[in-house]
Structures are given as C-alpha cells and as structure tokens.
Amino acid sequence: MSKEFDVVVEVSLRNGIADPEGLTIERALPALGFNGVSDVRVGKSLRFVVEASDEPEARSQVESMCERFLANPVIEDVEITLGPLT
C-alpha cells in the first residue's frame, strides 16, 4: 500500500561558489543596525508530497528528482528532509 510523505528539498549553492546575492544582503544588514552578521547564503526550498511504498523508496525517488532536475549539481547542493504526511 502506498503512503504519502512530506518532502522539503533545500537547494543551496555549493561551497566554493561565490554567492553575490548573499553577499549583497550581508552588506545591507548593517544599514538596519544588524552588525555582526556573516556567511549569508541564499538558496531556495521546494516543498511537495510524494507517494511511495515506504520512506526509503520515497527518499530514493526524491534523490533521483534532485539529481536529474531539481538541482544542478555543477553549482548546487541539496538537503532532503522527508517524513510521513501529517
């Protein structure tokens, strides 16, 4: 029987790839009085529900989606968070 899983995929720039957007935000924060902020990195998150027979199968499906489409491995890393649909 198939179950549904809540999925969050966080896509971030790979280490070593300069993040001009993060840097610009970091430089802007002191203007609002927020000093001491560093290492700002901008990414995106994708949320969806996936059907699978169990959690390992769901994870394997999502990993495959990431590899083939949701992220570009040349510049991006992904972190997958997955759990039973609540």
Binding site: I17, A18, P20, E21, L23, T24, F69, L70, N72, V74, I75
Partner: protein, 220 residues
C-alpha cells in the same frame, strides 16, 4: 544553396527575430521553429536564441530541455549538425548537457547590458571557422546569469581540447577563466553569452557578430 537556419522559439524567448534578421542579412535564410515541434524541418543549422525560456523557472534553461523540440535538437547535435546557443540558449545547452558547466548570477549582481570585447580562442567551431585566434570582436552582452562556472576537472578538459571559443577581454561577470563561450568536442555545438545578432549591422555599432554568423552559414 542558401543555408537554412532554424531559430527555436520557446515561450519567453525574445531574441528570435533579431537572429533571423541577422542570419538573412549575412546571406542565410532564417526561420522560426516552435518549441513544441518534434522535427527541425530539415534545417541546416539550429540557433537557440536569448530570452527567458519558460520564464527561467527553477533555473535558467532548466525547463527548456523538456520542450519537445529538444529531442530533435539533441539528435541533430549528436549527428554533427551545427547548434548555437546564444545567452539563454547557452544556458539551455548546459542544462540539456550538450555543453558542460553552468551559468550562474553575475558576480557583481547587476544585470549587464553593454558592449564587450571578446578574444577568439579557438577557430575549430562553427562560429569561428572564418576567424583567427587572437581576433578581437566587439559584441554586446545582455544578461544577469552569465557567470560561467565549472569544476577544475571540466576546465582542464576544456583547455586540453581547445574548447574555449571566446574569452572576455575585461571579464564583466566573474566567469571562470574569463570564459564567454565554449564548444563541444567536435566544435559543432557552441554556446556563448554575447549576442552576435546584435552586432550584425553598422547601425548597431559593430558588425563583428556578422563574422560569426557567416561562419555558421558557411560563407567565406
């Protein structure tokens, strides 16, 4: 015989008419192809033009590879047919894995629309076959995501195979190794960020782009 150049229109493309006009002006015959077409209709060369194919959703070029015509474009490229990706077209070619690497946001985080001076690095490509290594070309850029990124390994292979076709004289976007354009191993697939079609008439301030397009249509 006049060389027929098919220019693929994706939803969000916006340079297709300029390319057709420029191809016609140098003696070829440009025609539009719709992204839902499954065949290239017998054209001799294909151009993926600039713009924002499929709204650049997810990543630039990421959705375009699912357009039905891309199967035919990939097959054509694998069979040795000339395929050129300009700007967004270059981004599409990397996402479709017809060229290595990726295009990322400009280092200065500014949209750049300005002249750029390119240096020809390889003449073994469909765009540079009538040019010389070291030639300087004045061809404008117009992009937000033109910062070419690739791994050290890929860069080594590009250098070894003489696959870097154009470099910027004054790197405007942070591109790895000043790369403005690359080719595949056989030289029939070329991707570049600058717009040759915008430098194809004296009124545009430069005709250097026409030299590339003449190479594409095989006119000496």
């Amino acid at each position: 015989m006049t060389t027929r150049v098919g220019v693929v229109v994706f939803p969000g493309s916006n340079c297709e008419h300029d390319v057709v006009e420029a191809v016609d002006a140098v003696g070829g015959s440009g025609e539009l192809l719709w992204h839902k077409d499954k065949s290239l209709g017998g054209v001799d060369a294909v151009v993926l033009p600039g713009g924002f194919a499929h709204g650049d959703y997810l990543r630039t070029g990421a959705m375009a590879r699912f357009s039905p015509i891309m199967d035919a474009v990939t097959q054509f490229a694998q069979d040795g047919g000339p395929v050129v990706g300009i700007c967004n077209g270059f981004q599409i070619l990397t996402e479709a894995q017809l060229l290595p690497g990726a295009l990322y946001k400009n280092q200065g985080l500014k949209f750049l629309c300005q002249p750029s001076v390119l240096r020809v690095e390889s003449t073994d490509s469909v765009l540079t076959r009538r040019l010389n290594v070291g030639d300087e070309l004045n061809v404008p850029i117009n992009h937000f995501e033109g910062n070419y990124v690739c791994s050290e390994e890929v860069l080594a292979v590009l250098r070894e195979n003489d696959s870097i076709v154009f470099t910027y004289q004054d790197n405007p976007n942070g591109a790895t190794a000043d790369i403005a354009g690359i080719r595949n191993e056989n030289g029939n697939v070329v991707g570049l960020m600058p717009h040759p079609e915008r430098a194809a008439h004296p009124l545009l301030g430069s005709t250097d782009g026409a030299l590339m397009l003449k190479g594409l249509i095989g006119i000496d």
